[in-house]
């Protein structure tokens, strides 16, 4: 009975085909969205999810196939007609205006849609306040968006979608930048949206979250429609299989460092006022050490202190028994520390340069011949060996990084770090925004590097990733290490409880 009764879909796409220069980005893909349901759209990077979103939002036109809104065939969907039909996309970058107030950000697109000529800040405030109240949120209406946390920016974007009478809201990677509590809050809001009869599309790499919040699932792989069904009929394992097309092991598989030997790195009583306090830990050669905590707990600040981005005020760092002074990034690199920043697209890569240039960018000092000139042969040897060792999927070392997928770009950053032969490798969110197949391969690279004798520090709030590779996990809360998990204590539930406690 329950299955027989299915309301007319708000939006339905049927047999969509889209080709870009001979490559089929979408091949006979269909999806139906029901009012009040969350539809999980899953697949690896480059599987066609973004293309499908672009077609739904009218930004791209399909080569063939049909789009129905409320059962009515849409001849040609433009961005404007899509918005008028109540379809709203919340992009990963939210597409908000950082220099404008929350109230104005919420109301401005609806004003554009009705082609208003005049603008009234006070009316915008009233309209924004109404929608915020309806959702039971607290947002400072006159604050500028640039001053907001990521979570509040997202809520602003959701309010903006609703004020346009959204009937379909597509959320692209909505939880990537959020902490656990913020994710819970978002899901509360999603529940309220469902009660209002909004159909949602949820694009995420975090599978258990997607399953938790979704009612329907559609999976794409290489532009092909693999399967659609009811969320309760899937579990993490089957989803992973459909997404990758193979079995991906998720078991705990850790390296075996010699913990009795002298530690590779010893950090004692590191302090930085307002960020962290009395941080002490050791790292052994061949060990993968996890550092976890909520956003703003101080986990990133500790890493940045070790790498000299924001040097600590007091405390000591020893590497191989020798005290080192880290005042600048140069000091850290000299001492053999490599760091992968959180936001690698802006901090770690020259997007328009080639893969090879990016790999070598951090270690040019190590590739000099006589007279201090660059050693071309050595450089190409290093770049090619990194390219092969990290299995970077690109045409060649001379392909620009911009053309790579997220997982592959991540490997280029890793290659850049490794080319410098660091003793200690610090990685902040190494698999954020990376699809599940690439994620497993990146973790495998970390294990290999640890086996080569490096010490690896992984900073992450992805508990499964920590469980999968870490020998030990430090839990940071309000700038202090509150616990160290070892061996069988390292479980996903333990980590999540410890961080939020």
């Amino acid at each position: 009975m329950a299955k027989a009764y299915r309301a007319l879909p708000v939006l339905e796409v049927k047999n969509i085909v889209k080709t870009y220069g001979g490559v089929k980005a979408l091949d006979e893909v269909s999806m139906a969205l029901t009012a009040g349901n969350v539809h999980c759209l899953a697949g690896e990077n480059g599987c066609g999810k973004s293309t499908l979103i672009k077609i739904i939002s009218g930004v791209e036109q399909p080569d063939s196939g049909s789009i129905y809104i409320d059962g009515k065939l849409q001849e040609k969907l433009s961005p404007f007609s899509s918005i008028m039909a109540g379809i709203q996309v919340i992009y990963q970058d939210f597409s908000l205006f950082p220099n404008l107030s929350v109230a104005e950000n919420i109301t401005i697109t609806s004003q554009v849609a009705i082609r208003a000529k005049l603008f009234s800040a006070s009316k915008a405030k009233i309209a924004a306040a109404t929608i915020i109240k309806e959702l039971g949120l607290t947002l400072d209406l006159s604050a500028k968006v640039e001053a907001l946390s990521v979570a509040d920016k997202q809520l602003t974007a959701i309010c903006r979608a609703l004020i346009n009478d959204a009937r379909v809201i597509v959320m692209d990677e909505p939880t990537t930048a959020l902490t656990h509590t913020e994710v819970d809050y978002l899901f509360d809001v999603v529940r309220k949206l469902r009660e209002r009869g909004v159909a949602l599309v949820f694009v995420s790499h975090k599978l258990e979250e997607s399953l938790q919040v979704s009612q329907d699932v559609t999976i794409l792989r290489n532009g092909k429609h693999i399967i659609s069904g009811i969320a309760s009929e899937f579990d993490r394992k089957s989803l992973t299989q459909y997404i990758t097309g193979r079995d991906v092991s998720e078991a705990r598989e850790i390296t075996s460092p010699v913990m009795t030997a002298k530690p590779l790195m010893e950090v004692s009583h590191l302090c930085s006022s307002g960020a962290f306090n009395d941080v002490s830990f050791t790292l052994h050669s061949g060990e993968i050490l996890g550092i976890t905590g909520l956003l703003g707990s101080g986990r990133t600040e500790i890493a940045e202190a070790l790498f000299g981005v924001r040097p600590a005020e007091s405390g000591t760092i020893e590497i191989d028994g020798q005290a080192i002074r880290v005042r600048t990034i140069r000091d850290a690199i000299k001492a053999g520390i490599g760091y992968l920043p959180e936001d690698r697209l802006t901090q770690g890569l020259f997007l328009d340069k080639s893969v090879g240039d990016n790999i070598i960018a951090g270690s040019l000092d190590k590739h000099r011949s006589a007279f201090g000139l660059l050693d071309g042969e050595g450089i190409s040897k290093t770049t090619q060996s990194m390219f092969d060792r990290l299995k970077i999927k690109a045409k060649s070392v001379s392909a620009p990084v911009r053309s790579l997928s997220g997982g592959n770009a991540q490997r280029v950053v890793l290659g850049k770090l490794l080319a410098n032969q660091p003793k200690v490798l610090i990685l902040n969110g190494p698999t954020v925004g990376v699809d599940i197949g690439s994620k497993e391969q990146i973790l495998e690279i970390l294990r290999n590097e640890a086996n080569l004798g490096r010490g690896v520090i992984v900073i992450s709030d992805d508990s499964l990733e920590l469980v999968s590779v870490c020998n030990r996990v430090l839990v940071v809360r309000q700038g202090e290490i509150v616990d160290t998990l070892t061996g069988s204590q390292i479980t996903a539930t333990n980590i999540q409880e410890m961080t939020t406690a």
């Binding site: 961005p79 404007f80 918005i83 996309v89 992009y91 970058d93 597409s95 908000l96 205006f97 950082p98 220099n99 404008l100 104005e104 401005i108 697109t109 004003q111 554009v112 849609a113 208003a116 000529k117 005049l118 603008f119 009234s120 800040a121 001053a147 946390s149 307002g274 960020a275 909520l294 956003l295 703003g296 707990s297 101080g298 809360r477 309000q478 700038g479």
Partner: protein
């Protein structure tokens, strides 16, 4: 508490700096503190303020226009020359309208190139600056016109407030201050209260987001440059009127003062930020500095240096306060945890 007085673009700080400088100069040289000086600074601000309004609009939209002075003299000189060659005197308003048409046309050239090909605005307007000037001198005329139409001369001699004092120099407030005040209010209203104004801010904040929000970005950018062209042309005619001559070699080369005033007024060179109030204060500040240095007997060359230093200080303050902001948000994140 003080944060409220600072204003969203540091206008409060700027007003304070202005007051301090005026007080300091007045103590050094009491002659400075008089109605005469005030009116003369206001008269001196007429042309730069109109320019600055135009520059403010482009800077908020995320671009820059360095061709405004070339547009101004092109439009004003051409309009005056047409009147002179045709031996007729249509009056200030018609001459201004004629010049505004030329200004709009030249602005359209800038806008069309920038918006359609998405080229860097500085380079494009640097190019068109040379182009407009070249065309003016090659095709319109290179002769200095010493006797512009009588109607302009009349306006040049009209003051709305004239205080003639036996012992002192008289104090005269020029009539062209009135249209400038009206223009200033109009631009402020447009930026704050119209969707066009908000669109300019939106594009300056994030042009991709503006496109996704449904703003006709290309059209708005074109209109911005047209508007700058029109404002520049008006400023050009006022400049010719006040100087009582039309010189095709004029104006170009003084762009720095105007851009410095706008940036000092809190407009961000990265776009999305800026206010009319700040711009007015910035223009006044630069006029006061130019004026007082003159009174103090400082050579003109040093005035240029002073404006250059001010510009760097202004941008430096912006960068510093941006840095402090990120630090502050970092600390609040800590407190929130």
């Amino acid at each position: 508490m003080l944060a409220g007085l600072r204003g969203s673009n540091n206008e409060g700080v700027l007003a304070l700096v202005l007051v301090v400088i005026v007080v300091a100069i007045s103590i050094l040289n009491p002659v400075f503190f008089s109605l005469t000086t005030m009116f003369s600074i206001m008269r001196g601000s007429i042309v730069p303020l109109i320019f600055a309004l135009g520059v403010l609009i482009v800077i908020i939209s995320g671009g820059i226009d360095v061709s405004f002075a070339a547009i101004a003299i092109f439009s004003a000189y051409t309009a005056v020359k047409i009147a002179q060659d045709g031996n007729f005197d249509p009056g200030l308003i018609v001459i201004t309208l004629m010049a505004a048409c030329f200004g709009a046309l030249l602005g359209l050239v800038n806008g069309a190139v920038i918006a359609n090909f998405r080229l860097p605005t500085l380079i494009v307007t640097l190019g068109t600056q040379g182009l407009f000037r070249g065309v003016l001198i090659a095709y319109v005329g290179s002769k200095y016109i010493a006797n512009p139409p009588m109607s302009l001369d009349e306006v040049a001699k009209t003051n709305i407030i004239s205080i003639v004092n036996e012992q002192e120099r008289g104090a005269f407030l020029h009539v062209l201050v009135v249209p400038v005040i009206i223009l200033t209010i109009l631009v402020a209203w447009m930026l704050k209260r119209t969707m066009f104004g908000r669109a300019i801010f939106a594009i300056g904040g994030d042009d991709e987001a503006a496109r996704r929000a449904g703003f006709p970005v290309v059209r708005i950018q074109m209109m911005v440059y047209i508007l700058v062209g029109v404002l520049a042309a008006v400023a050009g005619v006022f400049h010719v009127t006040l100087g009582r001559n039309a010189n095709p070699q004029d104006l170009v080369g003084n762009e720095l003062d105007v851009i410095a005033a706008v940036v000092l007024g809190g407009a961000s060179v990265f776009g999305g930020r800026g206010s009319v109030l700040g711009t007015v204060l910035g223009v006044l500040l630069i006029q006061v500095i130019n004026n007082s240095l003159l009174l103090a007997g400082v050579p003109t060359a040093w005035q240029r240096a002073a404006v250059g230093v001010l510009l760097i200080v202004g941008v430096g303050i912006q960068a510093l306060s941006a840095k402090r902001k990120t630090k502050r948000s970092f600390v609040t994140a800590q407190l929130g945890a």
